[in-house]
Each structure stands twice: as structure tokens, then as C-alpha cells.
Amino acid sequence: MGETRKIALTVNGTRHEAEVEVRLTLADFLRHTLGLTGTHLGCEHGVCGACTILFDDLSARSCLMLAVQADGHAITTVEGLAPSPDKLNPLQEAFRDNHGLQCGFCTPGMLTTLTEFLRDNPNPTEQEVRIAISGNLCRCTGYQGIVAAALDAAKRLQGLPPSPVQHGH
């Protein structure tokens, strides 16, 4: 093991302390040290967006950060989005109802990206949603279901009734 450092950070509201190798990425720290494998690693060089987390409430690619850089900061991963283990949040429910995922690999990054986006832009246009997720690659859905889910989630988060897209299959 190379050079290490002690870090203390908050992940999904829980404080953690650990001694980490300084070259360890934040993504590998979350997955391997803390066992939070909801954060996915697709490309490991900042292209696919699957590893997106919220770093002090702002989206970031955890494969492009070091764990030591998170010392003293607050991280939210996909595991921190749902209100309880048996209940999804409105964005997650909209994904389920709109076929916003198939294999689910890109979903953690999509959800964290859209959590920040819908907080900053609660009533977006379809074009704005497409730009917001342009840094997250999905190889199953063709994006249509994800865009529909994001627009539906915006309505749910504003207290409007859900309006899932009806799929013809």
C-alpha cells in the first residue's frame, strides 16, 4: 500500500472515518471501503456519468475525484435518495412508472444528476432535460423513458398528479 491519509466525511448523512490510500478515487472509496456499490463505474475517465454523486449538493463524477479530497465534505450517493428502505422518492417512482431504466447501470448517475437539476430547475422543458443528462450515457432506453421520467418527476415534485407516458408495448 502506498501513502495513506486519515479522512472524515459525511456520506448520506452518516459520518465515516477511514484511512485511505491517497491515490484511491472517491468512487472506489464509496464502493470498496464503504460498500456503497450503488455508485457505478462505467468508463473511469469522466465520460459515462454512471459514477455521478452529489458533492456538497453539487453533482460531480466520483471517478474524477480522490477520496482524500472529500475530507470534511458531505456526499450523497444513490443510496441516500430514498426516504426509507421500502419507499422510493418521487424521482425514483417516476423512473419506475415511465420505463426510465432497463438494465439499471446508468440509473444511479441519472438520478443524482436529475436530483440536482430538478432542485435548480423545478419546471424544465424537454430540451433542458436532454441537456441536463447529456453527460450520462444510457445504452438501453434510448433516453426517451428517462426524459419522460424527469418531466413527470418535475410535476410530482410540484405536487401535481403523476402523468406517466403510456408505452405501446
Binding site: 501513502e3 491515490r23 478515487t25 473511469e44 458533492f55 480522490l66 440536482e116 441536463a132 453527460g135
Partner: protein, 294 residues
């Protein structure tokens, strides 16, 4: 796809960072990490030391002073994107920022990181060229200023010493009511541009162009100013023919020939993107609507 071993340093002051740079061999500065971290993960770079600037105080600011925007090197692209000052006083920079990567990368990426990584297609690098920016660097003997025209030393290489770091850049402001546009051609939203163009214009009461700045990104190893186009416009009222003829000169710039596009295609795109940027910039001048061009 994991970073190689290195020693990690996270200084709190610029002076400490400069001292580390002077003392350590084969050290790399880590700013927002949106270029260096992929290069580490892929082991394109193998530094013995990483000097992380994210905890250095005093490098994140945006202020107007003496007719210029002064921006700290560690100012995030996100902060530039949401800055009222930038949007109001330097709308070219605001428009260019929206073309940089994605929300997740702009939340981390910094001005200083973009300038020093010096990707030939990088938006902030083109903006610095378009506005004749000045880069401030600090080394063991104090600070010095480098005109942006002298800043690129080669591909991905800024003209700074190994013991110097960029602390800020000054972007001279254009007068209220100037025309501006930043356009780029990329295969997908957020990709690096194959060719980009930045245009700035001012005019007199009769609609004649009094000052022009045209910059092409993605052509060679650094952005280039299309001075022939600038000269062809000044003193004239632009119309379709003038813009088309003037931008034809962009075809003669040297261009990269790579997997994304052959040189001849980039040269063709340069004529098109320069014209589109100028058309947009011209429409944003006060004479728009009165002019004959459209």
C-alpha cells in the same frame, strides 16, 4: 484504470504551493481534475507528486476592475456560468461556458485548469484569446503577467516555468452594447468542438464596424485569431457577401488532421463557423434590424 501511486500535498496558501513546486520533482498541480484525473486514471501522466490546489485560499473570485474582469484560477466553471457579472459584462464568456462539458464537469472544472491544460478546443482558452486576456502567474520571485497571445508554448503546454502556478487571469471588457457570439461544431452536446468560433464586434452610428475579434478553436495546437477577417470587417457595414468573402480566408489556417476530422474538413468548418459567429454577433449590435445584412 486507476491512478498510479504518488505523494499527495494539499497546501493552504499560494506561497506554500509555489514552495512545493520548487522543491518537488515531477509534480503536477491538481485543480478541478476534469482533465488531469482521466489522464491519471489512464496513466497518460505518471507524476511522483500531486499538489492539490482545492484547499488553497484566495484563488476563487470574480471581480470587475480597471475595465477588465479579474478571475481567480480556482474559480469553478459553474461559478462563472451563474455569475451575473460575467453574464452582464462578458456575455461571450457566459455563452462559451454553456458549451463546456456538462453540469457535473462544470461543477468541478476551473478557469486556471482549463487555461493550463490548454486543450486546442477548450472554450475558455478561446475566450482568453478572443478577449486578449492576461494570465497572472506566481513563482518563487513573485508574480508576473503573460499576454495570452504568448501563453501557449505548444500542444497542451503553457509558457510557464515548472516552479510557477497560474493564480488569475484578466479579461479586458468590451463596451456595453457590443455584439458577441460563441459557436461550435461538435458531434454531440458537451463533446470537445471539432472547430469553434468566437466573435466580438462594435460599430459606429452608421453601422460601420469599428472593432472586430474573431477566434477559431480546434484548428491547430492553440486557438488562432483570424486577423485577416478582423481587418476586412473594420470600416465596413457587413453584409452577406462581405462576411462570406472575408471568412473564406480562414481556409488557409493550418489544421489538425486526426481521428475526429481531416485537416481539410476543419478548414472548411472554420470558414462556416467564423461566418456564423459573425452573423450572430452582428445581429446583437444595436443596428440589428436596420442593417441590410439580413
Amino acid at each position: 484504470m486507476k491512478p498510479p501511486p504518488f505523494s499527495y500535498h494539499d497546501p493552504r496558501t499560494v506561497a506554500d504551493a509555489v514552495a512545493l513546486l520548487g522543491r518537488l520533482d515531477n509534480a503536477k498541480l491538481l485543480a478541478g481534475g476534469q482533465s488531469l484525473m482521466p489522464m491519471l486514471n489512464m496513466r497518460f501522466v505518471l507524476p511522483d507528486h500531486i499538489i492539490d490546489l482545492n484547499r488553497v485560499e484566495g484563488l476563487s473570485f470574480i471581480r470587475e476592475s480597471n475595465g477588465a474582469l479579474e478571475i481567480g484560477a480556482m474559480t469553478r466553471q459553474r461559478e462563472l456560468e451563474f455569475s451575473d457579472l460575467v453574464r452582464r459584462r462578458c456575455p461571450l464568456m457566459h455563452d462559451a461556458i454553456l458549451e463546456i462539458g456538462h453540469r457535473q464537469t462544470r461543477n468541478r472544472g476551473t478557469l486556471g485548469g482549463s487555461l493550463c491544460h490548454l486543450d486546442p478546443s477548450a472554450e475558455l482558452v478561446s475566450v482568453a484569446a478572443a478577449l486578449d486576456a492576461t494570465v497572472t502567474v506566481q513563482g518563487p520571485n513573485g508574480t508576473r503577467e503573460i499576454k495570452f497571445a504568448d501563453f501557449p508554448a505548444g500542444y497542451l503546454t503553457p509558457a510557464i516555468e515548472l516552479n510557477e502556478l497560474v493564480t488569475a487571469a484578466r479579461f479586458p471588457l468590451w463596451p456595453e452594447g457590443h455584439g458577441y457570439a460563441f459557436v461550435e461544431f461538435a458531434r454531440r452536446h458537451g463533446d470537445f468542438a471539432i472547430v469553434s468560433a468566437a466573435a466580438l464586434l462594435t460599430e459606429d452610428a452608421s453601422g460601420k464596424i469599428t472593432r472586430a475579434s474573431v477566434t477559431l478553436g480546434g484548428m491547430g495546437t492553440a486557438p488562432v485569431r483570424a486577423t485577416a477577417v478582423e481587418q476586412a470587417l473594420v470600416g465596413n457595414v457587413p453584409d452577406d457577401k462581405l462576411l462570406r468573402d472575408a471568412c473564406e480566408s480562414c481556409r488557409t489556417f493550418e489544421a489538425l488532421d486526426d481521428v475526429h476530422a481531416p485537416a481539410a474538413y476543419r478548414q472548411h468548418l472554420a470558414t462556416v463557423m467564423a461566418r456564423r459567429a459573425l452573423e450572430q454577433a452582428h445581429v446583437r449590435l444595436p443596428s440589428a434590424g436596420k442593417a441590410t445584412a439580413h
